[in-house]
Assembly symmetry: D2
Homo-oligomer: 383 residues x 4
């Protein structure tokens, strides 16, 4: 029987993309209960947001929250930090010092000094510190890592990693778009633009999967969009430990690429290829053999992938979201009944008992036709 941990959250009020993602992620496997929050640096918005999200203990600031929660017998055991890059360090430090485990969005900090200080604090306090390089949670990424660590590729020679987007092809930050604004603002993002935002994901993925560390880089970092204050493209040549070499390309100005993260690794004995846009597949080719496609949970998929899976093979992972959509639409329909109001029309696209009746009619007609030398057989009209 799994323990449910008491969780707090800093940042990520209603409407923030990444805050909502963290809350869903915490809820999915039922291992956390979100009980405390300082959702905004604006105290009023922080209080209102917590109420809207059914979070019982709301705080006006993260400092207050760390101080108070660490004293309660039922205080939070862990905290999620989902603020912009420049606001990771201070709350992380505060909660660690208060003896609370930390889950923090990436990149860790905007300066190496802050990063090292956090590393030291984690070590001193003996706490868990998770950095949400979320792509490492994909079953097929775990699978790739496992296969390399068990030697299926032989010594690794080549690592090509790319993170290619197009959403900053134009000066979007000048239109008031919030995501673009803070990501191109050195004060909030630190010295790196695309490089920090997505280049670090690509870099982490390459290191995570191969187990190698990178020793040298030669780089060409560019700002293509006129007037932009941080880079929007980075070409990097990489030299890893043990003689491996590679290339990293991160860009946000390549039209036609929404979120094209890909990793290719080649060793002396085999090659592996993975693309985030179809994450349930891993392409694997032993030298001199046919290319094979390993699927999540399918043949050739091992224990690391199984540990990270919830559903059987064949269903892509979005299966759970599609299933959830029915529950959510039904919640709206049921709530509308209870509240005696009309439901949101978009929530009505859920199969109901009538669809069930049609399904039974279909089965009956098919079986009858097949028994009757495949004669055309009528399905009674919907009633």
């Amino acid at each position: 029987m799994n323990r449910r941990l008491r969780l707090g959250m800093v940042g990520g009020g209603p409407g923030a993309f990444i805050g909502a993602v963290h809350r869903i992620a915490a809820r999915l496997d039922d291992r956390y209960e979100l009980v405390a929050a300082a959702l905004s640096s604006d105290a009023e918005r922080s209080m209102a947001g917590a109420k809207e999200l059914h979070i019982s203990r709301a705080y006006r600031s993260f400092e207050e929250m760390a101080a108070s929660e660490s004293k309660r017998p039922d205080g939070i055991e862990a905290v999620s930090i989902v603020t912009p890059n420049n606001l990771h360090y201070a709350p992380a430090k505060a909660f660690l010092e208060a003896g609370i485990h930390v889950i923090c969005d990436k990149p860790l900090t905007t300066t190496l000094g802050d990063a090292l200080d956090l590393a030291e604090t984690v070590k001193r306090m003996g706490l868990v510190f998770g950095l949400t390089h979320n792509y490492t949670g994909y079953p097929m990424v775990r699978q790739a890592r496992e296969m390399i660590s068990t030697g299926e590729l032989g010594p690794v020679r080549l690592i090509q990693v790319e993170y290619v987007q197009d959403w900053l092809t134009t000066p979007l930050e000048k239109t008031g778009q919030k995501q673009a604004e803070w990501r191109t603002d050195p004060a909030r993002s630190g010295p790196a633009g695309s490089l920090g935002d997505i280049g670090t994901h690509a870099y982490n993925l390459a290191c995570f999967v191969t187990g190698l560390s990178c020793e040298h880089v030669a780089a060409d970092v560019t700002t293509f969009v006129s007037g932009r204050r941080l880079d929007d493209n980075a070409h990097v040549m990489l030299r890893f430990s043990k003689g491996a070499k590679g290339g990293l390309w991160a860009t946000q100005v390549a039209p036609g690429n929404e979120n094209n993260l890909s990793l290719r690794v080649y060793g002396e004995k085999a090659g592996l290829e993975w693309r985030q846009e179809n994450p349930n597949l891993l392409s694997f080719t032993p030298l001199g053999q046919t290319r094979r496609t390993i699927t999540r949970g399918g043949p050739g998929s091992g224990s690391a992938a199984a540990h990270a899976s919830r559903i059987p093979s064949g269903h892509p992972e979005g299966y759970l979201e599609a299933f959830a959509q029915l529950y959510t639409d039904l919640a709206e329909q049921i709530t509308a009944k209870i509240e005696k109001r009309p439901p949101n029309p978009d929530s009505l696209s859920v199969p109901g008992v009538g669809d069930g009746v049609e399904g039974v009619k279909f089965v009956n007609a098919v079986l009858e036709s097949s028994r009757n030398r495949s004669a055309w057989t009528a399905i009674p009209p919907p009633h």
Copy 2:
């Protein structure tokens, strides 16, 4: 602010695949709280299962649960029924009569009489009844439906739908595999095998997306595996309302297909194609123009899809599961700390503060190299 509904569950104890899926689906968007359950027809297992799953009110049978919950002021407002096919009717009927909204797994029932009786009961009681044909919850399926209903295809002529699997290629039911056993047992599945299990999903999807009803079928239903008691393959020719025609193929004996559900619809003006194995994409070709790929949330994706989406375009829906995996692994690490025991080694594959330090070093080295005419620049070794 969304109301959280009080939910009960019938069937789906620990270990059952579809029960776990329903619970995750109910939890994902935080619209339900699971407070009551009769998880098994075996009373002891029912009680133990509820405890393991943190469900506060456990019942020894669904009859007891319906009677008791309908009298409590804080009784459940909705119930999920996730039992085998032959056990849908009785609990659905019981909860409907008790005034409780029902969410039921498909197919609705194994006989038309039962199905019609439930339809009548739903109507009489004025309750919500959801049937979890879960594929209708995919954003791109909603998108396809919306495009057809607004006339982007013109009058529909052709509907090809397939649900192709391979897991029953051999007589798996003779090995004691539970999923295979009940699905090939007429007593528990009713008169249809593959046809009922997956053919009804395909049929529902075709009708859901096109808005057409099917009027006639000509079918050839086959049992390929010797000794199997229900069909494992169905070829069906379809004639729909308004002159549309189509083909449906459902099989569980086609090696190389895990869960290959696909739908293709062609009208006088355009064609649409969707495959569940890459559900975030919808292929759309207006006659005489180039084929285009509509992505979830991307250009050309409309309001019905947006209603069913949680994350921005480019991230496949498994993104949430990958994110959740990090939270779940961290829950295990934190719990182990609290319980002073070693964590499950599989849970250790989560980036931590050290990875954050490496990320900052990488950014610094890349920026330095780029400033320095792309000179090779060292990354300090991991400390």
Copy 3:
């Protein structure tokens, strides 16, 4: 040393699509010399066409050609018949009776009586008769056939074949388009439209690859386009010898499909899938193993495929056409020089000596940069 056969052609004058294809096909491997032709039922056009195509002996009719060529010591040894469907029988019969081998476009004839008569004549005369179901010439189709014949799939259970096009979605034949006109005209195409034009290709492919014969069909043939005189869609359920079953779908009214011919075969032990739109790949999944991709000439590809290949693995077969394009563009440039006229501007897109110089500069600069710690190294400007 390969003999070069003397070849004649009936039908297929300049401008006819399939005539040009037959001539290229005959030329590609240098096994034929086209020396005689009756290219048109119009005697004048027949003579002019032969001259344009450098064919030395032109005839006013196929009857004259058969009579004359069969008497010459250097007469043709084989003839290609590339006329519309209704004009296959007479010339085929004439050349066979004249002792000349025949290569004939499909479908063989428009009536069974004619077909059987040709079969009898071929047998009686002891001649070679080739029917250009051209898809059987793909290396990966040969590979699939070989794998099934050697038992890699075990007994075949399911055969799904489709040929899906969109070019007749509208009443194109009413616009004067020649290809559409004769294909929808019962007098020239016989009793079948799409069924004869592309359904027979699909059917032949299914039988060719599996080695099974089809024993029964149940079919639904439709004309969707108002006013069309022949079918434009056929749904067919198939029962093959040895208990195999299948589905065939042929249509010319599915927007978004240019020439989508595909074949899927599933046996007790494995499955195979092939699509003409990417013909160099064959997908093969042994039950319970990962899906593998066999490439033309690559690992897992056998002798039947090798027999049908001209180039090494990795190059798709269009490689030869791309190569030929350079030769053809250069022919135009050279001819223009000889004829002292400007060349067709489209022929100028061929790399020349200047591109070669640039290539050498690039190699030199890359090697210099790499030797010099990857310093940025200039490439001298084009001169």
Copy 4:
């Protein structure tokens, strides 16, 4: 009416891969007649090879050939040079000086001095010189170039080009494999290995399609296989004219990649992507719109692609080879009849008159079933 040019060949005797490809390419569109050759530096093999290939005038050396042909009234008008890299310069020079147009395999030469000398000679003599960077002949490559030149991408920012193979992952040159031997031998290949062999193709493709010239490179060239004398991997960062940047990766040690040449170009307004392994497709995404797939000859495909096409849209270019295979197999069958010997068994996989009879039976049975309410209808057994 097209003139047929008299062509000679230097190098490429029977058995040489690239020589056979050049001959097929010259033959495909019937614009050349191969009448003279010096196929080998070994005079005896040169004479024997010419006889085997039906080439009427054989020479013992290219010098002799240039001297003799330039004097004949019916001498060759053009020559193909298909020798190893180090043997391009001398024959190219000789034929140019003899006033004969030259078609030469890439790379042009192994030194810049030789390259510049040839360029000067071409200019002085006023002759055509074609360098067979064959990938530029693909219709979709021409299409990409046309779209960029007409401004559909806006100013180009990013150019990513890769040529990835795996055939030199092991020290194949030590096994006696001829292709590997000369390509890893500095004496025959010049100073560059993979870089010269395939990197130059990638570079040429990038420049050809974008019309930009590259001004600076920063490179990391590697030999991964121990004992190999030339590079087998090159990472290159590129800076083009007009501010565009890019990356080039050429390798022959990446398991799972047979011949993976790809090009991606991104401008301010749109992006283009092309992969040689499926060369009939071009992916095009205008910023903020859906991704569309342009097919050879399909909607959106323009005049440059049409100029380079032989067959209608939908048929991949390998269609012609498949067609040719039937002709070639039939040539073998017919020749065997003439020579009264058994044919090569592999040549028997060609549909014949019996298949035509089966096709007619199939059509008849399908039409009868459809007329008869889709009743199962027998196909008479093969006779």
